[in-house]
Each structure stands twice: as structure tokens, then as C-alpha cells.
Amino acid sequence: MRTWITPGGVHPPENKHQSVTMPIGTLPLPEKLLIPLSQHIGTPAVPCVEVGKKVLKGQKIAEASGPLSVPIHAPTSGTISAIEHRPIAHSSGMLAPCIEITSDGRDKWKKHEGFKDVENATPAALVKAIGDAGIAGMGGAGFPSAVKLSPGYQRPIHTLIINATECEPYITADDSAIRERAAEIIEGIGILSHILGNPSNIMIGIEDNKPEAIAALEPHVEDTGISVVSFPTKYPSGGEKQLIYILTGKEIPSGDLPADIGMVCVNIGTTYAVKRAIVDGEPLISRVTTMTGDACGINRNYETLIGTPVSHMLANSEFNEETCSRLVMGGPMMGFSLTSSDVPIVKTTNCILAPSYDEIPDDEPAQPCIRCGMCAEACPVSLLPQQLFWYSQADDHERLEAHNLFDCIECGACSYVCPSNIPLVQHYRHSKGEIQKARAEKVRSDHARERFEFHQQRIEQAEKNKEAKRTARREAAEKAKAKAAASPEKSASTAGGGAADIIAAAQARAAAKKVSPEQQQAKFERSIAGAEMRLQMAEEKLADAGEGHSDEQKNILTAAVEGARQKLEQAKGRLAEHIKQHNGEQVD
């Protein structure tokens, strides 16, 4: 079958032979297992057990939280001894929430049962079972498989690609799994094919440096429509986009998924996990992990329980700490150094590498870039690593994005060939992080701006409402005064406002001396009515202000009510006095 050749690429020493001399082994049961809640891309799982609870092997201990999440199961039987933050295998060396299980040594399974009739099961039921089994892509990224297998009706899948490339040096987890479990893997591929509606084209992509694995697969694929495609070994052929190009000659547009061009690419380790989940009903609680490197006496693959501490693995592999230059999780090209050997194996851990100083010496100090251009030749994505390097150093985010930094797969080929030992990939990772941080900050600041503008608008509106109330009140007062002016008592005030009130009162007093007693009495009665109205208004205002105002404002309003009441009393007093006087005059 025809294959295509990707640009760039390198040929580092393979060092795969050391770990395939022995079949896949098992480790003694560790005393304690530490299971991180986030072993996949997406939201972390949520614990559904409490400390002290006894669990059986395969029992669910954490639920998926949202569509892009997978549940987690107990890798062995025992007691939940802690749910807390612990160091996990992450380049930051930071802590993350984990569940610790103290093994009871019995390794007792919960009752489990697979699908009896896989052929007639609906794809939706199978996808749900895969999701419930906690399967996330085992090639390294940890993308929830159930999500990958439900691409939607708009995107019919015509090609299913099984990734058995395993292009990184040292790692042989997939290789050995194929050699020993080819039949089960093919069964798993059959299930995937059924889920995806039997795509017309099913290919297993494998590098030609694994002849034993190819030979193991071939008898099982006869009459199944599955083709095993081997192609020349080159790093990095195992990237999803690279493998799809090698097998089909089609490039996936930047930012798109394989499903956008009708393809799904699944790691071969995942197909085995799918088979175990569907046919045997076993959730993903263990995986094949390569233990290799010169600092270890035993180099081989182990069927490792998820949550096994790396230190446990090392202790059973004749590990010599003194000769070990560093501990790497993953391969030498894309893996990351571990800060502690207490961290656990997770669903995506395909290799623990404990190299000697001869194998992987300390990083040489970086020297200035000499513009040789070897990085550009090695880049499998045809980027311009040199330009990216300059822009990364200058923190020029705009240009980095214009030069498609985010298409970089961080394979490390450019760093590998750099004669000046510049850690190019680390520069790119740093810049990617900075850009993502800047994007997050932009989102946050836009949100803050929106809220600030709303806040301003709210305050303006409140101010406007207050102003409108004030004018309405003033107009009402003016109207009342105009009415009063139109009545026979011409001398009553005609202007509004506090000062006018005083003037009006003075005028009224002057007029009172002249006017007849009847008129005087009517005037006092009017002023009582006015005072009553004011008192009522002040009380209403106080009642309105009951909520949402500070104490200070309330005090002011209470004082106003009190004042109005006093004025009313005064007016009443004056009237009473006037009547008394007047009556006295009449008697006289």
C-alpha cells in the first residue's frame, strides 16, 4: 500500500531492543496506590467515595464531571485512605487532587460482565460503556475516547486509523502488547469499527522497526478488511496528523480535528482497553508501561496498575539511583523529568525512563543561534523554528501566532538537531503558555470592562431617576402655590422654595395685622392643612426609604418627619390662640 513521506523528522537511536527481551510482566501489588483525579484532557473527575470506605477492584471511585471527562475506578481492592492534594506526574511538580487506596492484598474484583452480543449492541450503548470504563486516549494526550468516537452525524467517518507507530525511542509498550495480544486488539478494532458505522477504510499504521508485531498482527487481520500498513521508521511519525498524512496523504487543516475530514485516529493501546471494557466489562485500571534505561537492571514492560508509584516500579527493576541522570516519564524526546519518584503511573504513562549519564547526559548549555537552519529542515510541521525562537525571546505574541506557533507539536526534533543546544521546544512551550495566559487575561479584562460599564450605567440611571423625582416634586409644589395664589388670598406666596416660604410667611404676618379676623382664621386653617400635607409626605418618604439606604439617610428622613409634625403642632396652636383672642375681643 502506498504511503506518503512527512517533511522533516529525525532518526535518534532507537534503543527499543532492551525492553522487549522479556514478555510483559506484572509487578507485585503495591501497598498504596495513588490515583489522580485528572488523568485526561478535560475537567477532573469528582470523587464518589469517602475516606475509610472499602472498595473492590474495578469499583468506580470518581465520577466524570461533564462531557469532556472520564470516571476513575479502583485499580485494586482495599480501603480509601486519603483524598487530598499530592504530587502527580506533571512538568510543574505541583500538587493535584488524588485518591489514595491502601491495598488489602486480595485484589478482589467487583462483579463485572461485558456485552453478550456486541454485534447487535447499538453504537450509543457501546460508546456509553467505553465512557463508563474511564477510557481516555492512551497514546499520551488522554483525550476521552467516548468523545472521539461520537463525531456526530454531520461528519460520517470513512477512515479509521489505528496508531501503532510508537515512534519515540525506548518505548515498547505498544510493540509488546501487539506481540502478545494481537487477537484482542483486532477484536477491539472491530468494536470501534462497529461504533463508527463500519468505515470503508481501516488501517493499522506501524513503523517498519517492529517486524515481530507486524507478523503477530497479520494472521488476525485476514478477511477482516483491516490492513496493516508499515512505513519507514522516522521520528515523529506517531503524531496523529503526521500518521494520517503518511497513510492517506491528506493534511488536517490547522485547528481542525481528523473527524472534520472523515477520519478517526485511535491509539492501539486504547483498542485493547476498549476490548477489555466491552467484551469483559473491565474498566481501565491498568496499562502496559515500559520500564527502561541503563540505570535499571531489568528493562521490560509491565502490566501496571494505574496509581502504582514510580518508586515501586523502580524498586522492582533493580534501579540504581547513583547512575541515573534523571527520571523521565514518557520518552526521551517528548517526556518530562520527574521531580519525585513518588508520583503515580497514570492512564497516559507509556514509559518510565531511567537513563544513565552516558545515555542522556545533562543538557549542554545553550549557545547562540548560528542560523544554520537545521531546525527548519527537521521540523515535521514545516514551521520556521528559528523565527519562532527569535519571536519567543522577544515575547512577540502577534508574530508567533502569525508563524503558526500553535501548530507546533512539541516533538523536539528541532532541539535534537540544534548544534547550539538551544532548548527550542522549551521556548515554544513557554510562549504558548504566555499567549494562552494573555488570552485568558483578555477574556477576564473584557468581562471586567463590561461589568464596569454596567456599573456606571446603573449609577447614572439611579441619578437620573432621583433627578426626575426631584423635578416632579418641585413642579407639584409650584402648582400648589399657583393654586394658592389664584385663591382670594393674593398676599400668599407665589414663589417656591425655602426662601420664598420665609418671605411668604413674613408677608402673611404683615397682612394678618390688617386683615379681618375671619380671613385670619381661614388662613390659619389653610396653614394647618399645608402642614398636615407636608407631614404626610415626609412620612411616605421615610416609608419608601425603608430598604436599601444607609442609617444616615434614614436619620435625616426621621428628623424631617419630626420637624413637619412640630410645624403642624405650631400651626394648630396658633389657630387655637387666634380663636381665643378673637372670641375674647367679641366678648369685650
Binding site: 502527580i88 545553550a366 522549551q426 473584557d446 471586567a448 461589568r451 464596569f452 460599564e453 456599573h455 446603573r458
Partner: protein, 199 residues
């Protein structure tokens, strides 16, 4: 008339040019009215670059007013929350040299902080609620208040009005999700063996 003008080439040229001038002038005038840009676009662009903490450390009541001030010629180095990155971005936008941050307005913080109300001590005076520029504090008179941490910009404006000093500015801890790779070390140690820990 036309004949008379045709006889006078200079006059004809003059009339033609003046005519064209009037025509294009009218066209431009119309376009200026028709496609008028509301507001000052440069203010919007500067406002986009400012961090929107609304903290007022620049001396303006919010980021937008400072953006307006920059557009009319104010210094661009008065924003401590934005720091050097913001200064550089604005300098880039306005095509002016980027100055250092003006220390008079404050220092650039290393970590983001958010306000935190010690709820036991809160007396419910609503003063912080009135001070918050982004309505991130929840509460009512004589009832306990609390800060919605996700909405808090860390502007500090609520700290000062609090009569019982129950508001702290706490640094936001980096989560494993927010972590990203640090920049590779600069090549200070040129000899590799010097960096290996002494055996």
C-alpha cells in the same frame, strides 16, 4: 457663452479646475458626514489594552477615562496593574517609545490578588459595595458581605472604605491548569559539568 470660454483656454482651465474642486469638495463633505465615526477609535483601542481593573491608580476614575487621557497626550506609563507589558503594547499602538512604569503610581505586582472579606468581622455597612467598580461584592445593609472572587479585579478600592478593616487582598494561587512552562534559563553557566551537583 461656451464659444467665448472655448476662445479663452486659461479661463476654460480655471473653470474646469474650480468646478472639479467644488465637486470633490462636496463629495468629501458628504462622505465626512455620512461615514462619520462615532467616538474616538483610538480611545477604544487603548482601552482594549488596559487591564480593566478600574483601580484608579493612574489618577483617573477607571480605565476608559485614562484611555481618553492617553489619546489626548497623557503619559502611557501610569498603569501598575498592566505593568510593562501594557506599556509596551500601548507604545506599539501609538508608535512611541515605551517608557518604564512610573513608580509614582505604584509598582507592578507579581501575582494577581483578589479581595477577601473576613465575614465574621463584617458589620454590613455597604461601604465596600459602593466602592466596588465592577459590582463584585454581594451583601445588604446590616448583613454580611462577600466578594465574588471570579469577578474581582483586585483593584484595592474596597479596602480603604472598610471601617473595621476586614478586607484582605489575597494572592490568587496558581493552579496546575494555569501553570505553564517557564522560559528556559539564560546561559549563565557555560560549562555543563559545573551545574551537576557535586558528587
Amino acid at each position: 457663452m461656451i464659444d467665448a470660454i472655448a476662445q479663452q483656454p486659461i479661463l476654460a482651465a480655471l473653470i474646469a479646475l474650480v468646478g472639479l474642486g467644488i465637486l470633490f469638495g462636496a463629495l468629501l463633505g458628504f462622505a465626512a458626514e455620512k461615514f462619520k465615526v462615532e467616538g474616538d477609535p483610538i480611545v477604544e483601542q487603548i482601552d482594549e489594552l488596559l487591564p480593566q481593573t478600574q483601580c484608579g491608580q493612574c489618577g483617573f476614575p477607571g480605565c476608559k477615562p485614562y484611555a481618553e487621557s492617553i489619546a489626548s497626550g497623557d503619559a502611557i506609563n501610569k498603569c501598575p496593574p498592566g505593568g510593562q507589558a501594557t506599556i509596551n503594547a500601548i507604545a506599539n499602538l501609538l508608535d512611541v517609545p515605551a517608557p518604564e512604569l512610573d513608580a509614582e503610581h505604584g509598582e507592578e505586582a507579581d501575582v494577581r490578588t483578589v479581595a477577601y472579606i473576613r465575614e465574621d468581622e463584617c458589620i454590613g455597612c455597604t461601604k465596600c459595595i459602593q466602592a466596588c467598580p465592577v459590582d463584585a461584592i454581594l451583601g445588604a445593609a446590616k448583613l454580611m458581605h462577600t466578594v465574588i472572587a471570579d469577578e474581582c479585579t483586585g483593584c484595592d478600592l474596597c479596602v480603604e472604605p472598610c471601617p473595621v478593616d476586614c478586607i484582605d487582598m489575597l494572592p490568587v494561587e496558581e493552579t496546575i491548569k494555569e501553570w505553564h512552562w517557564p522560559a528556559p534559563p539564560t546561559t549563565a553557566d557555560l560549562i555543563a559539568s559545573d551545574r551537576r551537583p557535586a558528587a
